[in-house]
Symmetry: none
Subunit: 216 residues, 4 copies
Amino acid sequence: MKTVPAISGRRQVKTTPRKRPRQTRSKETVETILAATARILIKLGFDGLTTNAVAELAGVSIGSLYQYFPNKQALVAALIERRIDEKNANTHIELARVAQQPFPVAVRTMIRMTIDNYAESPELSRVLIEQVPRIGRMGRIAELHQGTLLLVAALLEARKGELAIRDPEMAAFVLVASIEAIAQRAALFQPARLTDPALIDEATAMVTRYLGVADG
Amino acid sequence: MKTVPAISGRRQVKTTPRKRPRQTRSKETVETILAATARILIKLGFDGLTTNAVAELAGVSIGSLYQYFPNKQALVAALIERRIDEKNANTHIELARVAQQPFPVAVRTMIRMTIDNYAESPELSRVLIEQVPRIGRMGRIAELHQGTLLLVAALLEARKGELAIRDPEMAAFVLVASIEAIAQRAALFQPARLTDPALIDEATAMVTRYLGVADG
Amino acid sequence: MKTVPAISGRRQVKTTPRKRPRQTRSKETVETILAATARILIKLGFDGLTTNAVAELAGVSIGSLYQYFPNKQALVAALIERRIDEKNANTHIELARVAQQPFPVAVRTMIRMTIDNYAESPELSRVLIEQVPRIGRMGRIAELHQGTLLLVAALLEARKGELAIRDPEMAAFVLVASIEAIAQRAALFQPARLTDPALIDEATAMVTRYLGVADG
Amino acid sequence: MKTVPAISGRRQVKTTPRKRPRQTRSKETVETILAATARILIKLGFDGLTTNAVAELAGVSIGSLYQYFPNKQALVAALIERRIDEKNANTHIELARVAQQPFPVAVRTMIRMTIDNYAESPELSRVLIEQVPRIGRMGRIAELHQGTLLLVAALLEARKGELAIRDPEMAAFVLVASIEAIAQRAALFQPARLTDPALIDEATAMVTRYLGVADG
DNA sequence: AATGAATGAGAATTCATTCAT
DNA sequence: GATGAATGAATTCTCATTCAT
């Protein structure tokens, strides 16, 4: 078997937006560009995403696109950032809202929210998830994950007395991973399940039994 | 706000290997090429993966590479196929092996196996997973998923009497998704957890309590 | 060996300023723009010189820049014209001043002046010299050269009796080229020499011996 | 007067050739590409020099061009390097050859050689000289200059007894600069002079009188 | 079978310049 | 007059793939 010499590291690209659009006109331009990016990403994937195609679909000159986005990856990065921020905000708000509710209700609410996050635009979700590593946004995802983890762990810790678990942090990891995955896999493989209430029931059952707070 | 017109569909590419290598030398060449592909994929991602780079790293002429692989995607496809087949085989073997064991033991075994699948070469796992949709192998993954699902559902169905669940198929979905995700997220975000027995304990606890077969 | 077919000629561009700035404010704007042009030219060369960069560095909108300069080359042309006019004026004035002086003194004075021309801002000198052909100002330089040549030739002709030369015009060519080059090469390769009086001594020695008017 | 903030440094570009052409075919390709580069450079200048134009004129695909030259500047750099090496070699050989000859003869020979260097292809000479700073080859020119300087200084030092000069190094500087400039300016402004023996006579007169070794 | 020179479609990106506000 | 958003022609350069040797 022939051997294989060493190779150098992975290039990453600056993806910070070029200038904040000030006037209404430019804000519209940016929105249109991102909308076109999303549409092409869904239909053709990252390989089919060309800046020229985006500009054309957006009805904007290629120059205008580059006025606001320094390169192709910045387009996708912007979409990802938005999505991350949205999910993050949703999670924080919802967690705060259910903090005092009875566990079965709280769990069901969080699961429903997670599923809804994917149900809204599963296509875009999927595509953006795929692009995350390539755009160098794994770090942001990890942060998001870690943030959620801490919140959930704190919540479990606070009401540990009611629960059957020993290590809230480990439990939080297991729970967050499971719930996210159930929503994600449904979106990926069986979109029909996303609207089936039985899925929520079943996931809730798993979590509540695990925590020792099941209804029945 | 400007509107956005329609666009056409996604191209896919034939990725079946060109010829089966019969001689030892050819097999070696193919192996070297795939090894180089894996290394570049890990270090540089799909964007850094160029057929010329693969050929050079493999110490093979570009012409030879094309003798065995009709195009770039075929390289990645080959790696993915291998990985899928491996995982598939592992899962089937292990499931058969634990079919008669007490549930707590069976569950723990399957979880350990899943985690081990990722622990072995998490880098390559991750990269290949990322490439799946692009290479048009989502179908294969879905098949794999579906196959596992059926097996697990059948197993749950067969021993339904011992279990606290109603719908074995839905339960299988929830379980498979959760266990896979726990392993995958650990590999992605907290590799240290992959070797922490407590993770297996906790995941096992969740599953057994859910199924109503917990030890304690 | 493959052969090589014919190609068409070089484009040139109008570089006459758009309007004479009359008000003080406009004059200031023009000055600021030219100062920015010079700075960028020095730091980044002509390739780094973009009209947008000039405008930004000058703190002026790109639109305003185009109010005063019809295109990019006009910016550089303006700097070159200024520099040429300055050098031209200096040379004429100084030549008139030394016309009646003893040759050794006159020669030394002209050499010093030439060197001083470069010592003042060698960086800008160099960059502008480089740009001359591109901006289509070789003609102006040739004129300048020719003008100086004629003046010097006339001066040599007028006092031919004191001199060891036959052909004043040819001598003028040789002298002007040499003196300019000594200053220019010092600026380019050995800036320290620009302030070394020994350089002036040596150059003066060469010229006066050549002319047969050396002191010693 | 508005003030002007700081800006960052000058980018330079790697210009080392990509791969040595091994086969005869590729050597021919490289030669054809460089010939085309020279022709376009002469006719259109660096701004008119596009890689596509070069490839087309050379009758070679753009891809082939990039196989051997990593970028546009590398094309020019290659031409410059060749020219520098040529001049350098000529100078060394000729200086060695005249080292023992009587000064008037030696001086005349060196001046003729210098002029011939430019007379051969004055157009290309001029264009390449212009491109030197942009291509980042000033360093190489300075080296060349310095090398010649040392050789000439050594020669003057060795035969100092015959000469009217005190500081051989300073004299060398003055001489090298003057002779180069006479040839260069003739090429630039008065190409007709390049073939006029009187120019060589006059330059020789200047140098020999300066050194105190004039014939008459 | 192997080689590697050659190909060229196609993509990203820049920047001089215009013009609506 | 000034502003700066928008334009788009023009260029550089890559890389999958072919094919003569």
